[in-house]
Symmetry: C2
Subunit: 388 residues, 2 copies
């Protein structure tokens, strides 16, 4: 890059990330829900704060679709700050002076945890489209291998928004005795038909790009950048609300006050979206995008358990569910379904619907009510557990 | 096509449509809002019923983005019925036993009215990307040339949904004395930032397809079918509601009750969307899609008049505005803005919000309340005008 930024193309985070990595060999192979087995794989993560003597102060942060482990430190690819600076850090709701905060890159990701951009040890070439399909449950199994590796039996809290929230729900359901408290934000216990539809359009945009090369672009030296940019642009619209778009961009033209009668980016919203598309492809692997969206599509806790309340039957975990009024991708109604099921399962559950017109992305932004709710929940639970 | 269907590729509707055509030469050149001039152009249309002696019973139907003039007859390309069979026909709300119903293909369309797929007389090759940009006002000017040609001074009614509704509003604003009544459905007086954003993603999908060939694919013998299919898939999601998608498809798999762990169309919603994409490219020109979405982007009656109520100041036209509760592309709030402006302008205006969970496409479907509202409005106005 002319400005010295590193990009996905010239920075091999997939195999050699700028993060701690734990490697697993055939003795610790990862059997996936599909039946496929990863004989040798690795997980990359970031950690903040100090694990206390009885290892009772660990918080697991689960990232969303295009997130990564760099939650509270500069991202080594974009050179931008971490993605949740107001949530994680000294004195923040997830206070790194008190807690050991752990954030792993998800399975099928491209920032150091094994995924389609990683080297396939069987061939010496990138996995590409030969990478096995993964699910949210598989991501959670990988996380728990890391948690085991660190010697943590019980997580004090697990927290995440959007697909991160799906991991939170899956983990709490699969390992109720290993999670003291859980905070799913802006999420749902199953992906809606509309969201599967948006995911599918994004995947078709990537796969329609001839530079995708049937999924083998890494070995062939191309990148489906145009297709991935279109996918990102589409997805980005769904992360915002019409109100937020209207306030920020409205119908403002870029340069004058009138049309230029061209297909260039004449409206500010067009420039913004194009920028989102172009900057995304610099940091994300297209196949990872396909695999991770597919994992989200498959997520359906109720179907997996014959009813959502059964997924949380007699769970000892304490829940705080948070939704946002203008989130139309994971609307409050999804959170209400979850809260009812948790109540029916006998869980301890709090629910906060945050008034915000910023859409789905609100969970990443400065929403004081969200921070207060998380802070209060964390503090009360820490007191209960005797964490100083 | 193996099944004998004709497709856009082998059926030149653009220059030689299966519809009546009116041709205009340099003496009737069309000056566009951009300043460009179409020296020679044509308009294709369908008509139903009989124009009465004083030419007072004409209804102009304006079609939406991907519609055409075949409102109540078999479509010559798809061999499917017309797109508004429950609205237009003998005994229907737009009763062809009483009214002369006229539906022109829009300017920049690909079904016989001059557009980017038409032959450029200056070069003998298809216009392609050299076609001048058009606006909703330009489409309306073209319609009025046809109306003039047919010797109709005053239209009894103009009606249309979505982009058709934009034409209705533009025409009523530009020619108040030539429109007795107007029915805009599921529309708005300006396109929202979110809708500009969706349009832009669709255009980028088309333009990212290397077969688009910088817009000159018709002369080079290619078609950007993959890109156009992605654009259509994305747009199609916005035409439906989450409730409609959930009821019709939910999370149902196509074949089994469990994932196959592949990128094939495993969910029913995926098959449905792919089908929408594939069948659309058989009947629609990709450049027409670019030009017509751009025309929608530019539409902003308030900006053009320094206030929306000024666009309808002292209008004699009688309005019936119709919206649908689950339409999130052109939500009821857009119609309320319009109704307030019409009232402020002193117009006679009725407003019906139809309770429906079918989203934007509801205006094309069997919505009895919509038909009753239109029927009542038409009948009352016909009585007032003495139309038998």
């Amino acid at each position: 890059m002319p400005d010295g930024r590193k990009t996905f193309d010239d920075y091999d985070q997939a195999d050699h990330p700028d993060s701690p990595v734990v490697r697993f060999g055939p003795d610790a192979a990862l059997r996936l829900e599909s039946g496929a087995v990863l004989e040798s794989w690795q997980i990359a993560y970031q950690a903040y704060g100090v694990l206390n003597a009885d290892k009772s102060n660990a918080i697991l942060v689960c990232h969303a679709l295009t997130g990564d482990q760099h939650v509270a430190n500069e991202n080594p690819v974009t050179r931008k700050p971490g993605w949740w600076p107001l949530m994680v850090g000294p004195g923040k709701p997830l206070d790194t002076n008190r807690f050991f905060v752990l954030c792993p890159n998800v399975l099928a990701g491209c920032m150091g945890t094994t995924g389609p951009a990683s080297m396939n040890p069987a061939t010496g070439r990138p996995w590409g489209i030969d990478f096995p399909m993964v699910t949210i449950a598989d991501m959670v199994e990988a996380h728990m291998r890391l948690v085991d590796h660190l010697g943590i039996h019980r997580l004090f809290c697990i927290i995440g928004g959007s697909m991160g929230g799906m991991q939170v729900l899956q983990l709490a359901s699969s390992y109720p005795d290993r999670v003291f408290s859980a905070i799913p934000l802006a999420t749902a216990a199953r992906l809606s038909a509309q969201n599967i539809a948006f995911d599918e359009v994004g995947r078709q945009a990537v796969m329609a790009d001839p530079d995708w090369r049937g999924g083998r672009y890494l070995e062939q030296g191309t990148r489906p950048s145009k297709g991935l940019a279109v996918a990102r642009m589409e997805a980005h619209i769904t992360y915002l609300s019409e109100a937020a778009l209207h306030r920020r961009f409205g119908r403002q033209f870029k340069e004058h006050n009138h049309p230029d009668f061209s297909f260039d980016a004449e409206f500010q919203i067009e420039s913004y979206l194009r920028h989102q598309g172009v900057s995304f492809v610099e940091r994300f692997d297209a196949n990872s995008y396909l695999y991770i969206t597919r994992a989200m599509d498959y997520f359906d806790l109720a179907a997996a358990h014959g009813g959502l309340s059964k997924a949380f039957h007699k769970t000892p975990t304490r829940f705080l569910v948070i939704s946002f009024t203008s989130d139309w991708l994971f609307p409050t109604s999804d959170s209400r379904v979850l809260v009812r099921a948790l109540n029916a399962g006998g869980a301890s559950v709090g629910f906060v619907e945050v008034e915000s017109d910023r859409g789905h992305d609100a969970f990443l932004l400065n929403e004081p009510v969200m921070f207060k709710a998380v802070q209060g929940f964390i503090d009360a639970n820490a007191q209960m557990k005797g964490i100083a």
